[in-house]
């Protein structure tokens, strides 16, 4: 009747997340305590505590995902009701849509740029930061963009990058250079988007790296330094391999962020000029809430999600194997 021995699922649960400690002592020895308790209370309590989560999971996770999958097989302008079209939306997006592949290309450029520039820069910054004095102040400054709303970030950079009167081109002008049209030239607009994303994520990624560096046994570094290796050399050949899990984590999360995060682009360029920074997630959003094509937009979201999922898994496998 009442569960007195360790639940059968407990061991499996502790196995699900490696490195997470569960109660080491099996909970068998409390029959006396159980007997004076209100009957059923310990069995019921966890379910009561979990009730909000379970309701939420049903209403805001399972239901929407199911609804979304259904919508990908329909044509639906929300003024009417959805009509079943099978795989037509997928077929349209992948073979006939004039810009879908362009937006996918832009998505990869943004994500690739964020990984290619963001990861090494934050790693280098962490290397310097981890041996500096006044870390609390540096940290606060580097983390500042992360606590700022994205509309402010987007507009602040619009002001800075204004072709004629922005601080950046004024500065370049003082040095005798004519700065580029940061936001009105297609190529430069893409550069601007990546620069701002790297700037925005720098502090967060740096903190992950510096926490990992702090976890290294100082004796290892000391030994290498005594052997005559230079600072940068020690960092590249000893520190980085030792914090590989953090490198994998930041690389994969940066990539996922770059693939799916469109708030900054929406507020900063709205995909422009002339679609040069239009990414798939943003295209999907406009398809849904401007063109009211809910079926097609859902299919676009699903394709993007599938691509992200596959690549994230591949990255994890690849980067982890190389570590072993």
């Amino acid at each position: 009747m009442r569960k007195v021995a360790t639940a059968p699922g407990a061991d499996a649960a502790s196995g699900a997340v490696p490195g997470v400690a569960t109660g080491a002592v099996p909970r068998v020895a409390r029959p006396g305590a159980m007997d004076d308790r209100a009957p059923g209370a310990p069995r019921l309590a966890p379910w009561l505590f979990l009730a909000p989560l379970l309701v939420f999971a049903a209403v805001f996770l399972v239901l929407p995902l199911g609804f979304s999958i259904y919508l990908t097989f329909t044509r639906w302008n929300p003024l009417g009701s959805p009509s079943w079209v099978g795989l037509k939306q997928y077929e349209y997006l992948l073979t006939r849509d004039p810009v879908f592949w362009d937006t996918l290309g832009h998505t990869f450029i943004v994500a690739g740029g964020l990984v290619l520039f963001g990861v090494p820069l934050s790693l280098a910054l962490a290397a310097v930061f981890s041996r500096a004095k006044g870390r609390r102040v540096w940290r606060a400054i580097f983390y500042l963009p992360q606590v700022t709303n994205i509309v402010a970030i987007a507009y602040i950079w619009q002001f800075l990058l204004d072709d004629r009167y922005g601080l950046v081109n004024r500065g370049l002008g003082l040095l005798g250079y004519a700065g580029p049209d940061w936001l009105t030239d297609g190529t430069w607009a893409m550069v601007s988007v990546i620069v701002v994303m790297v700037w925005y994520e720098l502090g967060k990624n740096m903190l992950v790296f510096s926490a990992a560096i702090d976890g290294i046994d100082p004796q290892v570094i000391e030994a290498a330094t005594l052997d005559g290796a230079s600072g940068p050399r020690v960092f590249a050949s000893i520190t980085v391999p030792l914090i590989r899990p953090a490198v994998v984590f930041v690389t994969v999360t940066s990539f996922i962020t770059g693939m799916g995060w469109f708030a900054l682009i929406l507020a900063m360029t709205n995909g422009g000029p002339r679609g040069a920074t239009d990414v798939t997630a943003l295209y999907m959003y406009r398809m849904a809430f401007e063109d009211l094509r809910m079926g097609r937009a859902s299919a676009a979201a699903m394709i993007l999600f599938a691509i992200i999922a596959v690549i994230a898994v591949l990255q994890f496998r690849l980067l982890r194997e190389r570590a072993a």
Binding site: G9, P42, A57, N149, A309
Partner: protein, 282 residues
């Protein structure tokens, strides 16, 4: 020499982080004399501090601030409640299905936000008996024109549940057992024994939730586009874009942005120590 290089590098990055914010604060203070000069002045000849009063007079700033505070605080309180309760249940009880629920908590974090925008928007619109909907006649706006639409999709944070569970696991079982022997109810054990043990982690969660939802933009914009009275600061400023198109309105926009940024930066600086304890364990 090496030390000089180190601090030069840190200083350079710090300047790159701070300069954009400084540019915004300077820009907010420019007056017509500065923007219409040829070429326009970078530094205002006469700083227009009155711009911060104009922000409240000429824009629905009070309304936006009120909405931001109400929505953000509500979400924060609810997320802390659901995360700690669920995290405690997953950490400290043995019951069939715990394993599966824990996997759900991990797995749910894999789904990117953009997947949910369309379906949740319509689920809220089709809630029966709300906003002009009947029991089966679903032609109304449902919950879309209400605060509930801003709050409900965020009352559980999967990462928060995971985080709280990780902290509750570290509490010794004996402590809870002892309270049980004294006849304390399970909720009381949770509230008075377990929760205080992980108070710093709970405050961290609250702070992260607050900052995240103060800044939340896409969802709030999507459901309040046609309900200006529900817009929060970032959304309101963004959707009023057209009002800021003339040159002399730019400083007003910059001042409004400064007001939207100031509360979190203030909170962040005051609670800095706690904030970073969290980012380092996370």
């Amino acid at each position: 020499m090496r030390a000089v290089l180190k601090y030069a590098a840190l200083g350079l990055v710090a300047a790159l982080m701070l300069l954009p914010f400084a540019d915004m604060f300077v820009g907010a203070l420019r007056g017509p004399r500065d923007v219409f000069a040829n070429p326009p002045n970078y530094f205002p000849v006469e700083p227009q501090w009155s711009v911060y009063a104009r922000v409240f007079d000429e824009l629905p700033m009070g309304r936006w601030l009120f909405n931001s505070v109400v929505v953000t605080l509500t979400i924060t309180v609810l997320q802390v409640a659901t995360s700690t309760l669920a995290g405690f249940a997953l950490a400290k009880y043995d019951f069939g299905g715990r394993d599966a629920i824990f996997r759900l908590v991990i797995g749910a974090q894999m789904f990117p936000f953009f997947l949910f925008i369309i379906p949740i928007f319509f689920l809220l619109r089709y809630v029966p008996l709300a906003g002009g909907n009947g029991l089966t006649e679903l032609g109304g706006s449902g919950l879309l024109g209400t605060y509930a639409a801003l709050v409900l999709p965020f009352i559980v944070t999967w990462y928060g549940v995971f985080l709280m569970r990780q902290f509750f696991v570290t509490i010794p079982d004996d402590l809870l057992e002892a309270a049980r022997l004294d006849g304390a109810s399970e909720f009381r054990i949770f509230r008075s024994i377990a929760l205080p043990q992980i108070a710093p982690a709970v405050w961290t969660l609250a702070l992260f939730a607050f900052v995240y939802h103060w800044n939340e933009f896409i969802w709030t914009m999507t459901v309040t586009r046609s309900a200006p009275e529900l817009q929060t600061l970032p959304v309101g400023i963004f959707l009023l874009e057209d009002q800021f198109n003339t040159l002399d309105q730019k400083s007003l926009q910059q001042a409004a942005l400064a007001v939207s940024v100031a509360p979190v930066i203030f909170l962040f600086i005051v609670l800095q120590k706690r904030f970073h304890a969290a980012t380092e364990t996370g």
